[in-house]
């Protein structure tokens, strides 16, 4: 459904910096696509460009066949109604002066066109928060009073309020503890099963991508290094960089440096 064709993102200088250099990427309907890369690889720029936050300097982005490159007016409304982005830092992506229920309520109001303070919006917001597992007691609280995991749930609920068919998730678990990450990942999988949304999951963590994604894209320095189904990329990586990346991922009981211990033992 989401198609990026030869997309380039250049930030104005001085000196100008090209973060994304002619990328092709597609997210098929109903699938989870993983976009993996190290810091500075341009993966977040792709997320922002796809949602219309960062201008694209070259190329074309379409959503369900409709052009949403540098969206304005109608195409912007079209895009926002169908695609949503969840940010990395949950503490930073919620207004500190707004109760969390209100943050979701606002999104419901945008989606339904109902008045912000109407009973319908309020109820719908509470339902959404309930659905992503935010406890009742937390709904009237302010962002700084909640933990990172809770806040990330709120962000997800807010994105869901617009009933998107595509969710872009930019490093959504990077700032969370591992046990919290597990819950968010489970939640995302559950949502995908229930709501049938497509996902573009962006992360530096190959293990998470491996766990979630059907298709994988590997980026480096703004260029696409490798793309394919998850099995292809992880089991039979073609590019040297992908291989290096994979071999660098720590695994439980991985034996890269074990030789030393064997020597000691021997």
């Amino acid at each position: 459904m989401l198609e990026l064709e030869n997309v380039e993102v250049t930030y104005p200088g001085p000196p100008p910096f090209t973060a994304v250099k002619g990328i092709n990427l597609s997210v098929p309907t109903g699938s989870t696509v993983g976009l993996v890369g190290e810091s500075g690889s341009g993966k977040s720029s792709i997320a922002r460009a796809a949602i219309g936050l960062t201008p694209v300097t070259k190329g074309r982005i379409t959503l369900d066949g409709q052009d949403v490159t540098n969206p304005k007016g109608k195409s912007l409304r079209y895009l926002r109604g169908r695609a949503q982005l969840v940010f990395q830092d949950p503490h930073a992506s919620l207004n500190p002066r707004m109760e969390i229920a209100m943050a979701v309520q606002e999104a419901v109001s945008v989606a339904t066109g109902k008045r912000l303070n109407s009973r319908e919006c309020a109820d719908a917001a509470l339902d959404l928060l309930d659905k992503v597992g935010v406890p009742k007691a937390a709904m009237r609280r302010y962002p700084h009073q909640l933990s990172g995991g809770q806040l990330q749930r709120v962000s997800i609920a807010r994105a869901l309020a617009l009933e998107p068919s595509l969710m872009i998730l930019d490093e959504v678990t990077a700032s969370l503890d591992v046990s919290v990450q597990a819950r968010i990942l489970n939640l995302l999988r559950q949502l995908q099963r229930e709501l049938d949304v497509s996902m573009l999951y962006i992360s530096h963590d190959l293990s998470v991508i491996r766990y979630l994604a059907d298709h994988v894209y590997v980026m480096r320095h703004g260029e696409m290094v490798e793309a394919g189904t998850a099995d292809q990329v992880f089991d039979a990586p073609q590019q040297e960089y992908t291989q290096a990346l994979l071999s660098a991922v720590p695994t439980l009981g991985g034996s890269r440096w074990r030789s030393r211990h064997d020597l000691v033992a021997g």
Partner: protein, 293 residues
């Protein structure tokens, strides 16, 4: 695997370490009755989530606890020196040379206003009385040890001119200047990319191998620790819940929290068909409902 500690070869011995907030009795201690030891040449990991007390423990061992926190311990012995009773003056040289610290964020941990060289040589100038020339030569050798190219040029650069991985290796090189018997590394690779992380880990293991420095490696990543450590200490909310060899960890830990910690994190071989195990039963509800209830 040989995890049999030679009894008289204990490098660091910590008994009943507790850390609490000064003058705030209503706040429970942040670290409670932590005891562990480290043998010479051993690599030991401490794993735990945020708030588990792993970083505070390492800071207490190095006597660098921030203001406002106080510690108590029955004993902390490092290399034959008493770190609880001893005065700062006595311990200066020991801690300044025998113990090397590597912190999480290499950008923030190097003084941005001073050149690399000046920061590297001050330890040995101070504690071993080397001349500037000798110290510089040592610094260059040390940078070579951590595989930094053009070491002489680096000495004249500022931290912001180096890449993240290079800064962290510089931090390690700085620690090596004193020929430490223990390298205390607190999340040394959290701010770095995986490929750089691999290099830094390789380097730490390599130094442990070549120079025999013991390493106390603190991380939230149990997979990472399982790759390099002889032994792993699991901390949860200020307490040690399990202290086990890596072999035991891989064979299957006893403690439910450790089990949960392993299964909560996906790795490249995790079954995609099933949900991840979460740690939420009773006392192991890590994600606290609210920070300020």
């Amino acid at each position: 695997m040989n995890a049999d500690p030679v009894s008289n070869d204990i490098l660091l011995d910590v008994r009943n370490l507790s850390i609490s907030v000064e003058n705030r009795d209503e706040i429970p201690p942040l670290v409670r009755n932590v005891s562990f030891h480290l043998n010479r040449g051993e690599i030991v990991g401490i794993v735990g989530e945020s708030g588990s007390g792993k970083t505070l423990t390492s800071l207490a061992v190095s006597r660098l606890l921030p203001q406002g926190l106080s510690m108590s311990a029955d004993r902390i012995d490092f290399d034959g020196h008493d770190l609880v009773g001893g005065s700062d003056r006595e311990l200066r040289t020991v801690l300044g040379t025998n113990l090397a610290m590597v912190f999480q964020d290499p950008m923030q941990s190097l003084n941005p206003a001073r050149k690399i060289g000046a920061q590297m040589i001050e330890t040995v100038r101070e504690h071993r009385g080397l001349s500037k020339k000798e110290a510089r030569a040592l610094a260059i050798r040390s940078l070579e040890d951590v595989h930094i190219t053009e070491p002489a040029k680096r000495l004249k650069q500022y931290p912001h001119e180096l890449s993240g991985g290079m800064r962290q290796r510089t931090m390690i090189a700085m620690g090596l200047m004193g020929e430490p018997s223990l390298i205390l590394a607190d999340e040394p690779t959290t701010a770095l990319d995986v490929t750089v992380q691999a290099q830094v880990m390789q380097l730490l293991c390599d130094l442990n191998d070549r120079k025999g420095s013991a390493v106390l490696l603190i991380s939230h990543n149990i997979s990472l620790l399982s790759e390099v450590c002889d032994r792993i200490i699991v901390m949860f909310r200020g307490e040690i819940v399990e202290d086990l060899t890596t072999a035991k960890l891989l064979a299957g830990p006893d403690h439910p929290y450790t089990q949960g910690l392993i299964r909560a994190v996906p790795d490249l071989n995790t079954d995609r068909g099933v949900d991840l195990v979460t740690i939420e039963d009773g006392q192991f509800d890590v994600e606290r409902e609210m920070n300020h209830a």
